[in-house]
Symmetry: C2
C-alpha cells in the first residue's frame, strides 16, 4: 500500500484486516499469504465503475457486497475456498465519510459471511466516476481446480438456483412494470448475487467443467463449449425459472441470455447425478439438469416442441 | 475474467499470459498459482488514475511500465521474487487501438525484463479518466519477507541509488528550468522508476526493516520508525544526490521529501556493512549509509553544521 491517504486506510480499512496476520495491519508494502503443501492459490481480479456496473444512487453497502460477491463467484466456479482479498478504491472528491462508512460495512458484513479478510490495497482520488477493483485469493487442493475446459460429449449440463432473476431485476429498475413485491425480490437478486461458494467446493471432484453465469447462460455455456472443444444443447423446458420471475414478461429470454445471476453452470458425467442431487439437497439449493454436452461446436437451445430457438442475443458484454 | 470485451483480452492480453500455465490462457474465471513448500506469496495492489498519477499525454508505454514497476518495487521492498501480475484496465471510449498497443508493449517489455507473467484481470469501460489497477504476486522463502517493523536502535540506515531525481523530473515537467540533457534524464527517472528487485532479494537475510521510497525519504523513513517503535536520524550531508540533480535548485529538498524515486530504504546492524557494500558493488548499484536508528520516535535530519532541519513537508500523499 504505497499511495493513498493513510488516514482513510487506518480508519476504514485496517479493522477489516485484523484477523489475518499476513496482512501486516495494512502498514506494509505488500501482504503475505501462506503456502500450503498440496494446494494451489486461485486468484481473480475484477473492476466495477459507477454508471457502468452500478448506479450512482445504489446503496454503497450493496455496491461493496456486489464487488466482493462477484469475485467470490469466480472462486466458486473454480471450486476454491476463499482466503483473502485486496481492494483499490478510486474515489472522487464528493465521496464522503458516510459513503465510505456504508461501503466498508458492506465489506465487513460479507467478509464475515464468507470467511475471508482484507489484506491490502489502495485508496486514491479520481476526477472521474467511482472506480473499484477487487483481487480475490482462494485456495484449492492441488490439481482439483475446475476449469472451463474439461467438458466431454455425454456429460450432462447443470445449473444451480434460478436463472434470469437478476436480468429482470435490472430491467424493472430500468422501467419494466412488475408488482411491488416481485420488483423488490428481483431487484435484490440483481443487486446482491449469492455466490455458490460451498457448492463449488463440493463439485470439485465431480464437475468436468464449471463457470459462473455472469454474461448469460448461452454466452457462458458457449465459453465452456469453446474451451472444451464440444457443443452444448439446452432443453428450454428445463430452465429453472423462479416463481418470482415466471410471470414477468421476457422471463425465458432472461434465463437464456440475461447476465448477473452468478449461479454455477457445470458439466458432469451422467453417473454423478445422484451425488449432485444429494449435494443440492444437503445445501438446500436447487440444482437442475438443463441439457447435455455433445460433439461439434456451439450452443443450441430447443423449446418444448423440439424447435431450435434463434439465439440472436448471446449475452451481455459490459464494454 | 468475467466481464470485459473478450476480443480485447484475446487480442492484446492473452499473448502476455502464454508463458504461465496457471493463467489458463486468460480464458477462465481465475488463475492458479503454485504453492511451494517453505515459501510464502507476497501480494500488493496499486491503482493509478489519469491526471492524478500520470498525465494524459504521457506515452502509454511508459504508463504501463510505471504501473508494473511501482508494483515491482513493492515486491522488492519485501525481498520477494516476482512471479505474476493481474491488471484491471478501465478505459474511456476515446482510448484507441494505438494506445492499447503501446500500453501492452510496455507491459510486455517489462514482464520480460523482470521475469513475470500476466495471469488475469479485466478490461472494462468508463465514462471517466483512464484508471488502471495492478495486483502483483511474488514469492519469498518462508519467514524471510522483510517488513517495515524490525528496525532496532543502533541499526544503520541505508538507501540505494540516488534520491530526488524523480521529484525534480516532475517539477521540470511542471515548468522548473533546467538544461535539456538534465531535464531528459530527470524526467526519465520520474516516468520510469527502476525497482530494485535484485537488491531487495539479496537483503532479505540482512535488512531488519525495508521500504521503497515512494512518498519521500522522510515520510517513508517515518513509516519504518513508527512501525518499528524507534526514531531515525539522517545526516543530510550523506544523502546520495545524483550528478544530474546536484545543480538543480531544490535538489536537497527533493532528496528529503520528493516522492517516486522507488529506491530501497533499509536498516541493518553495523556489522552488516561490508556485506551490504559487497552486494552494492556486485550489483553495480550505489548503496549509501545515510543515518542511524535510535530509540524514541520521529525522524530528524541534521545538516553539515549539526543543525536540525525543519521538516514541514514530510512527503507527498496522492489523495
Amino acid at each position: 500500500m504505497t499511495t493513498g491517504e493513510f488516514g482513510l486506510i487506518e480508519r476504514w480499512l485496517k479493522p477489516l484486516a485484523s484477523g489475518f496476520p499476513g496482512a501486516l495491519g495494512l502498514t506494509d508494502d505488500a501482504a503475505l499469504v501462506e503456502c500450503r503443501q498440496d494446494s494451489e492459490l486461485v486468484i481473480a481480479k475484477d473492476a466495477i465503475v459507477e454508471n457502468i456496473h452500478f448506479l450512482s444512487d445504489d446503496p454503497p453497502m450493496s455496491v461493496a457486497r456486489k464487488l466482493l460477491r462477484t469475485n467470490l463467484s469466480d472462486l466458486a466456479a473454480m471450486g476454491a475456498e476463499p482466503v483473502a482479498y485486496l481492494t483499490a478504491l478510486m474515489l472522487p472528491e464528493h465521496v464522503d465519510d458516510a459513503w465510505i462508512a456504508a461501503f466498508v460495512s458492506g465489506l465487513e458484513q460479507d467478509q464475515k459471511a464468507f470467511g475471508l479478510h482484507l489484506i491490502g490495497g489502495d485508496i486514491t482520488s479520481t476526477r472521474g466516476p467511482i472506480a473499484l477493483s477487487c483481487t480475490i485469493i482462494g485456495r484449492v487442493p492441488k490439481g482439483l481446480a475446475v476449469s472451463r475446459s474439461g467438458a466431454r460429449p455425454g456429460d450432462q449440463i447443470w445449473v444451480s438456483g434460478h436463472l434470469g432473476d437478476a436480468a429482470l431485476g435490472l430491467r424493472i429498475r430500468q422501467g419494466l412494470a412488475a408488482d411491488e413485491d416481485t420488483a423488490m425480490i428481483l431487484l435484490g437478486r440483481y443487486r446482491l448475487p449469492r455466490p455458490r461458494v460451498k457448492l463449488g467446493q463440493r463439485l470439485r471432484d465431480i464437475a468436468t467443467a464449471m463457470i459462473d453465469v455472469s454474461d448469460g447462460l448461452v454466452a457462458d455455456l458457449g465459453h465452456i463449449a469453446e474451451c472444451s472443444g464440444t457443443s452444448a444443447v439446452i432443453d428450454a423446458a428445463l430452465l429453472p425459472i423462479s416463481d418470482d420471475a415466471r410471470d414477468v414478461p421476457g422471463a425465458r429470454e432472461a434465463a437464456l441470455s440475461g447476465g448477473d445471476d452468478y449461479e454455477l453452470l457445470f458439466c458432469a458425467p451422467p453417473e454423478a447425478t445422484p451425488t449432485i442431487e444429494a449435494i443440492g439437497a444437503e445445501l438446500e439449493l436447487p440444482v437442475t439438469r438443463i441439457g447435455q454436452v455433445a460433439s461439434g461446436q456451439g450452443v443450441r437451445v430447443f423449446d418444448e416442441t423440439g424447435t431450435d430457438l434463434p439465439l440472436q442475443r448471446m449475452g451481455w458484454q459490459h464494454r
